[in-house]
Symmetry: C2
Amino acid sequence: MTVKERRAREKEELRAEILDAARELFAKEGYENVSMRKIAEKIDYSPTTIYLYFKDKDELCRSVCDETTAKLVKQFDGIVATVSDPIDQLRRAGQAYVEFGLSHPNHYKVTFMGYGLTGPVDQEKLHSQASMGARCFMHLRTIVEKCVQQRKIRAVDVDTTSQALWATVHGITSLLITYPDFPWVGKERLIEQVIDVMIEGLKA
Amino acid sequence: MTVKERRAREKEELRAEILDAARELFAKEGYENVSMRKIAEKIDYSPTTIYLYFKDKDELCRSVCDETTAKLVKQFDGIVATVSDPIDQLRRAGQAYVEFGLSHPNHYKVTFMGYGLTGPVDQEKLHSQASMGARCFMHLRTIVEKCVQQRKIRAVDVDTTSQALWATVHGITSLLITYPDFPWVGKERLIEQVIDVMIEGLKA
DNA sequence: GAGTATACTTAACGACGTTAAGTTAGATTT
DNA sequence: AAATCTAACTTAACGTCGTTAAGTATACTC
């Protein structure tokens, strides 16, 4: 059995190597500027080798992005664990979300802005694509739920409020990513303002 | 001189024909699923002919999207002209913005979500790309300014507020476009909620 | 040592955006 | 009316892309 194990380990290593190369190129160049050929060249393998490890470019890029987005989920966990007031949790989580997007714009584009989606989304694509975005959303939702339970915010439907909140943080994130050279009043200030106004509106 | 005029008119006609074909394909298939070859085939010309009328695919698609986005600007004008209360103007403009995005998702992706932008944005690209997005924003800004002047909303910096508002409507629009199959609580309801909460927060 | 599975490569397909080098038809000139 | 020029359009090609099919060599099994 040790032979099979070694083989499996070696396969896993190359898979990791591909992921590493893809991650680096991808974070630097973005989805449409990374080709399978470039990734292959970076690790000194033939382009077709990658297909032995990943179904297609989409799956590879999504794996990379999912990995990255998992870090955001972890951050959410940390916030929930260390911050007591749910309103503060909400604020902190929102800030973390936006900062995550600005730190990893190319990952954000794939995960939350549909980059790399060509044709109509088939079922499995939808599943894997939605999963990470959906998981992030669910974290926000949990926090919102707590806020409502503790009567910190107006008790409209939790889902509606959560989705509205997601839309808000997504809006500022994606706008800043899409128009980096727009004369923003100041990114930090704007982010704070958007989140504050939203939370203020939810309290009222 | 009449010869030159006729020629110019004929050129204009073909240009319009290209734009028509591009618009139709583009609205139906989206940026990355429309090729110069397909557009050319649709109008029975060789692919290279298009390059006599448009610098590249980017310029062609942007022309199409600018045309469409101009309609939104006109709608804004109509709202400002017919609605008296600036807060109502704000609400109506926000709704029009979101509905515009949902009605023309592929145009919205190019204009407001950076679709079709490959390399780093050179100066003229930035200019033409930003122009329509920026013009829409300026309309919102004017309305916000009026709200502040009439003390309808809290008098923080007009730019900050306008940008925050843009982020909000963009957020809900782009999320709905990107995740059409997400279990939203109901698009109309959600849109209303997002805009209402934002305006509520601005009043406080 | 023969046979077989595994890991990888070479070669190719069809598509893409785009450019350079024709071609052709019409207008201008002589 | 013939020669020239010019504008509009096409053909052919380049280099790229994602992806598949067929081939090869290595390492393990028996």
